[in-house]
């Protein structure tokens, strides 16, 4: 923890060695974050680069009040959403919310690797993927998602429901494949 504080302070002074050390500490996790949102690896690399440049440019604003990793992650997410705005603005266009009945009772006991889970998320249509990531994996509320992504709360809820349905089908399909493989 103290090492991280020292690194952050050194980065605030503009020391390149500290910046590199910080990159090494967080680049893996942040690249995984970018991969969850972006359509491919190249786009994720671009977002990672741009995100870290923003981190170093704004590191003076970090006041050691909360989790530094959370602060970096938030910058990465904002960067990725900016990429959405620039490259795929149609994905953020609000649409009439279609509320879907959700079955909360579905539970799963199958084992999935991280790569398998990532694969299922990346198969999601982009606008479902973004809302699912923000709500489930980042812990945003629908109001925060609406403000961050520039969509309505209703659209956020609707897209989350669709994402869950999509993922449930993916999970069930893979479970079936696993059972068939065992048999």
């Amino acid at each position: 923890m103290n090492e991280l504080i020292d690194i952050v302070k050194a980065c605030q002074k503009g020391k390149v060695s500290a910046q590199k050390r910080m990159y090494e500490m967080f680049s893996g996790k942040m690249f995984a974050v970018c991969m969850r949102y972006c359509k491919d690896r190249t786009e994720a690399e671009d977002a990672l680069q741009e995100g870290f440049i923003k981190v170093f440019a704004n590191i003076d604003r970090f006041r050691f009040n909360g989790s530094f990793e959370g602060w970096v992650r938030r910058i990465m997410i904002n960067t990725v959403i900016e990429v959405y705005r620039k490259k795929q603005p149609e994905l953020l266009v609000d649409e009439f919310p279609l509320l879907t009945e959700e079955c909360e009772d579905d539970t799963y006991d199958v084992v999935f690797s991280e790569q398998e889970l990532m694969g299922m998320i990346q198969e999601l249509p982009p606008k479902y993927k973004m809302v699912f990531n923000l709500y489930v994996l980042e812990g945003f509320s629908h109001a925060e998602i609406a403000e961050t992504a520039g969509i309505s709360v209703g659209t956020s809820k609707s897209n989350l429901a669709r994402a869950r349905q999509w993922l449930k089908k993916s999970v069930e399909r893979r479970m079936l494949e696993k059972k068939q493989a065992v048999c």
Partner: protein, 440 residues
């Protein structure tokens, strides 16, 4: 890895918690290259900010100096009158030693001249004559010397000076409107701010009575003037490298005129006369005839003038040695600006046209270190168009604050005079500096 029964959210949330994917090495290389470039830009920014700060300081010093000098010239006039009297008294004492008794009438005339040297401003019939007029009207010279008795001219003059001082004190406060500090993501930004512009103004001219004056042996010396302008500016910038500016600015142009006479003419008394029948000053210049509102002084004789010159006691005499003609305009510019370098958006080239509305037209009699308003130049157009081009440096000081500095050349596209005999087109070179606030 997960083995317990979980809902779909938990499957993904817990399954991907702490998940890490090694990033390719070249990503860091790109980041490092970008950081190095930013550090260079940052150093460059520090340099420009320091330069901007130095320029602000210089601008303020120059501006305050010009304003202070203008005010001091006006306010110090009454003091000069008293110092003039003491000076002449001293000179009178010296003259007693230098000049023999045969010059005693001159001494008396000097004394008389000092006592009657000014004509009150309400003497509107007072006018000016040229050297030639005075020579021809030699019979009236004694009459000219008598001046206006029974008038407390010092008091009137002080009142006049106060009036002119109030008129001359013009302040150009920087304007800052309320602005929001909240950062916006909109492509269009609007900046508003104040400008100060110390400038040197001169002219190109054609026609005029300068050539005819030269034919009579009068050497016409015209020179530019220093002035101080400024005002409010609004800049609208789209996302591109183009931006557009308008605003309301105060600007001053003009010239100083000195007519040198041949030796056979009387010394320097070309401007004032109390007995002429015209109220126009026949001063040779390229802007236009000067219509006189109030006389500067009554004149003195040809012989006495020469004598005064010989004894070098005319240095502080309040008769004009030259005339300054100024035109004041409210300028509404429309300027297009283009950032020269995408990577370095602080340097820009600006050009455009301005509508200039005449708000002031004054002529001043100039002595060594003071000036007094005497009238105005006739046949000046109320509206003229000018063009301008400049190279601007725009340095961000904070998030919403910019310092701008721009050497700008301005040229009037048509003559300021409606008289076709006078083709007077001013131009000026000014340093426009100021602070702008990003309001949107």
């Amino acid at each position: 890895m997960l083995k317990d029964r979980k809902d779909i959210d938990a499957v993904f949330k817990e399954g991907l918690e702490g998940y890490s994917i090694p990033a390719p090495a070249y990503v860091w290389d790109s980041i490092e290259a970008s950081l190095i470039q930013k550090n260079r830009m940052s150093r460059s920014l520090i340099f420009w900010r320091a330069t901007a700060a130095a320029c602000i300081a210089v601008l303020m010093i120059v501006s305050i100096g010009i304003l202070y000098r203008s005010s001091e010239q006006m306010v110090s006039e009454p003091l000069k009158m008293s110092s003039l009297e003491s000076r002449v008294e001293t000179e009178k004492g010296q003259n007693k030693n230098i000049i023999s008794n045969e010059y005693s009438p001159i001494e008396n005339e000097i004394s008389e001249l000092v006592e009657n040297i000014m004509v009150p401003i309400n003497e509107s019939k007072s006018i000016y004559k040229t050297n030639d007029d005075l020579r021809v009207d030699g019979g009236n010279l004694q009459e000219l010397m008598i001046g206006k008795n029974n008038v407390n001219f010092v008091k009137d003059y002080e009142i006049s000076v106060k009036l002119h001082s109030n008129k001359a004190k013009v302040y150009y406060p920087l304007y800052a409107s309320n602005f929001k500090t909240k950062k916006t993501q909109q492509a269009t930004s609007i900046s508003i701010g104040g400008l100060l512009s110390p400038a040197y103004s001169s002219k190109t001219s054609s026609g005029s009575n300068v050539e005819s004056a030269s034919a009579y042996g009068v050497q016409v010396n015209e020179s530019g003037i220093n002035s101080l302008g400024g005002g409010l500016q609004v800049r609208i910038k789209r996302g591109s490298r183009w931006s557009f500016e308008t605003g309301v600015l105060y600007a001053q142009v003009g010239q100083e005129v000195y007519n040198s006479m041949p030796e056979y003419m009387a010394e320097k008394h070309v401007f004032a006369s109390s007995l002429s029948t015209s109220n126009q000053m026949y001063l040779s210049n390229s802007m236009g005839n000067i219509v006189v509102n109030n006389a500067v002084r009554s004149d003195f004789s040809y012989d006495n003038a020469n004598q005064l010159a010989e004894n070098n006691i005319n240095a502080n005499m309040p008769y004009p040695e030259g005339v300054k003609q100024t035109l004041e305009y409210i300028e509404i510019p429309l300027i297009a600006r283009y950032s020269l370098f995408k990577e370095f958006p602080y340097l820009s080239l600006a050009g455009g046209i301005s509508s200039n509305f005449l708000v002031g037209n004054n002529a001043y009699a100039i002595n060594d270190d003071s000036q007094q308003e005497i009238g105005k130049t006739e046949n000046i157009k109320p509206f003229v168009i000018s063009s301008s081009v400049g190279l601007g440096i725009d340095v961000p000081i904070g998030k919403v604050l910019n310092f701008s500095l721009e050497p700008r050349f301005k040229y009037f596209l048509n003559s300021v005079s409606s008289d076709s005999d006078y083709g007077f087109q001013p131009y000026s070179f000014g340093i426009y500096g100021g602070i702008t606030f990003v309001v949107k």
